[in-house]
């Protein structure tokens, strides 16, 4: 990784982390009337993968997609305005946090029905293969999504057609409050992918540098026509499933379980490698951008009457 790449990666992860922390701070004010699923603690996956992507590549994910949106270059002010339900939002106030997306940066809108964007991204991959060889589509999803039928169906189809599709599973070990062990007999998700003809890679400690390496290599192979690949990144969600808070007191998981993940906070690991002076500048830029975005969202006008009925059909 070059120094520039490192700095970019730091900036991306830091930006996402801070955006979500600020979102959590605003949340109790009820100004954001949108269910937020924060990626704090696992935002480096989107950052590392998107670092390997280029303009013209397409991404898409679940309700937990702030990180993907920002890592792909999504406009922060438009995302904030979206969470505030304003007309200037990236989905004009019709999607909220769970459905963010941006055609401008190649992020398909997010879907809050688990796993449903996986085949949709495969459809993009099919179109890219035909119309823009060398480009690819990347689908981000959780461990729970791998239990839905369309996950398997899509992998089989993608392997059969050697689609330029990168499948990124952010395995945080939980679907809402249910641990993987209560949902699966076998916890190695990669073997399923391989049995369907999709090469799989597991980054068991969620290390951001390994992830960046694995993603870059997979992306290069996919661009070269090698067909789909699957990355399982083991990570940990630091906040509650939905909402701004921690939830270790609720009993379904312990702070001890989280501790090793927090100790190896990938943001800190990145920060340690960036020159402190440089970092201070970046951090300040990020704070300024966030403050401006929040101000923009607060001041933005609400959707006009009649907007309800626009865009049902093209």
């Amino acid at each position: 990784m070059t120094e520039d790449q490192l700095i970019d990666l730091y900036r991306t992860v830091r930006r996402i982390r801070r955006v979500e922390e600020v979102t959590a701070e605003i949340y109790p004010s009820d100004k954001i009337k949108s269910p937020v699923h924060l990626a704090i603690g696992q935002e480096h996956v989107a950052a590392a993968v998107c670092a390997a992507l280029a303009e013209g590549d397409i991404v898409g994910g679940s309700y937990r997609s702030h990180a993907v949106y920002l890592a792909k270059g999504g406009d922060l002010a438009a995302m904030m305005a979206e969470m505030y339900g304003k007309d200037a939002g990236c989905c004009r106030g019709k999607g909220g946090s769970m459905h963010i997306g941006s055609a401008a940066v190649g992020m398909v809108g997010s879907s809050a029905v688990v796993a449903t964007q996986i085949p949709v991204l495969a459809g993009w991959a099919l179109a890219l293969k035909r119309r823009a060889p060398g480009r690819l589509a990347a689908a981000f999803f959780g461990d729970g999504a791998t239990e839905e039928g369309c996950f398997y169906e899509t992998l089989n189809f993608a392997a059969l057609h050697r689609l330029p599709l990168l499948l990124v599973c952010e395995n945080n070990g939980y679907a809402i409050h249910e641990p993987l062990t209560r949902r699966r007999a076998i916890d190695d998700l990669g073997t399923v992918a391989e049995s369907l003809g999709v090469p799989a890679h597991r980054v068991a400690d969620g290390d951001v540098f390994s992830l960046a390496r694995v993603a870059a290599a997979a992306v290069a192979r996919i661009r070269a026509g090698g067909g789909p690949e699957f990355i399982e990144a083991r990570v940990y969600r630091w906040r509650e499933h939905v909402g701004p808070n921690e939830d270790f007191e609720q009993g379904y998981r312990s702070r001890e379980e989280a501790a090793p993940w927090m100790e190896t906070d990938q943001l800190v690991r990145l920060a340690e490698r960036v020159d402190p002076g440089r970092r201070a500048v970046i951090d300040a830029e990020i704070e300024a951008e966030i403050a401006a975005a929040v101000a923009f969202a607060e001041a933005a006008p609400v959707p006009p009457v009649g907007e309800l009925r626009s865009d049902v059909y093209a």
Partner: protein
């Protein structure tokens, strides 16, 4: 507010809708060891907003368990277990996710008895919650009851209050057919007098909630509550509305509605769903086929759009006591100037008190 129905001789106390659901299941699980509850998250500490709370502790993990995220196959599993003689209650935290289970429900559950010559029964209950407000948006808000009403072989019920929540759910559990129970998230906190002992609110009998001769208003699910408020407001301006809760949507008690419309000559159906090919279309059509006199009819429901998240847009998406009252006025007082109630008076506690997001 619900009339006492079958249960007026028995001990009752105020209970929340969510607790009525839980009590129904607990009592039936106690009575019948074949009843079990499964579905995503039924056994976690949130317990489907509390509606399954305590069941795991009381009945153990063989009878109360979560599943993988596999709505299609889990519906098949429920069907198979039901055919085998058990009585599964399959829970969906949102009705929207039932779209993943349409094939099993419509192609197997609805047809199993008929297609296989009456050899089997499918005593299956599907509990499905409908969400609203706080940015739930297009995929967490759909009242999809009409999809299930369309298929012979399925039954559909949409209790609008805590009393019926218990009575309908017990009836559904005891029914030997697949029953889709539509529950409204925002009703979960509402209270009614609910009998302590098990009782049933059986298919086939609608309830007249308020009496009136000027117009018949039929509400579906939470829209019964909104129609009752609308009726109060209409009363103040001299329009007597008869609000009817069909309770069971399939089979549908059209006779009670018809009897009312025969008197009032006017029908407004208010649905928590889209109107096109919806439950409201069915009710209008069924009355139009049967009515022997001219009837003024209208239906209102979701706007013909997906549900937006922005609160300002969402406010226009749903019917509310104000739009219901205004539509009823239009029908009942043709030619007179339009009227709608003071917006302050249209606010229902169950709406304003709801704190999101889910």
């Amino acid at each position: 507010m619900p009339d006492a129905g079958k249960s007026d001789m028995v001990e009752a106390r105020p209970l929340r809708y969510v607790d009525a659901l839980r009590e129904a299941v607990a009592q039936e699980m106690e009575r019948d060891p074949d009843v079990f509850v499964f579905g995503l998250d039924v056994d976690d500490h949130k317990a489907i907003q509390g509606s399954t709370r305590g069941l795991l502790e009381r009945f153990g993990p063989e009878r109360v368990f979560t599943t993988p995220l596999s709505e299609d196959a889990m519906t098949g599993v429920a069907i198979g277990a039901a055919m085998a003689g058990m009585r599964p209650i399959h829970v969906h935290i949102r009705m929207d996710f039932m779209l993943l289970a349409m094939n099993q429900l419509a192609n197997i559950a609805a047809k199993a008895r008929y297609m296989w010559g009456g050899q089997w029964r499918v005593p299956l209950v599907v509990r499905a919650m409908v969400g609203k407000s706080w940015g739930q948006g297009a995929q967490h808000s759909q009242g999809l009851h009409s999809l299930f009403m369309h298929f012979p072989g399925l039954k559909v019920v949409a209790p609008s209050n805590a009393h019926d929540a218990k009575g309908c759910l017990i009836a559904a559990i005891r029914d030997d057919n697949p029953v889709v129970v539509m529950e409204h998230r925002l009703l979960y906190g509402t209270e009614a007098a609910v009998p302590t002992a098990p009782f049933t609110v059986e298919p086939g009998r609608a309830r007249v909630c308020t009496a009136g001769d000027d117009i018949t208003i039929v509400g579906v699910s939470n829209m019964v509550q909104e129609a009752i408020r609308a009726a109060e407001l209409l009363g103040k301006v001299g329009v007597a509305a008869e609000v009817i809760d069909p309770i069971w949507l399939s089979p549908l008690d059209i006779d009670t509605i018809l009897a009312s419309v025969k008197r009032t000559g006017r029908l407004l159906v208010v649905d928590n769903g889209w109107t096109m090919c919806g439950a409201a279309a069915e009710i209008l059509a069924a009355i139009a086929e049967r009515a022997e006199r001219a009837v003024q009819m209208r239906r209102i429901g979701f706007a013909p759009t997906p549900c937006p998240t922005s609160p300002w847009l969402e406010a226009e998406f749903y019917p509310n006591p104000g739009t219901i009252a205004a539509a009823a006025w239009d029908l009942a007082r043709p030619g007179e100037p339009a009227w709608s109630p003071d917006p302050e008076e249209t606010r229902l506690a169950y709406q304003t008190q709801f704190k999101g997001p889910f």
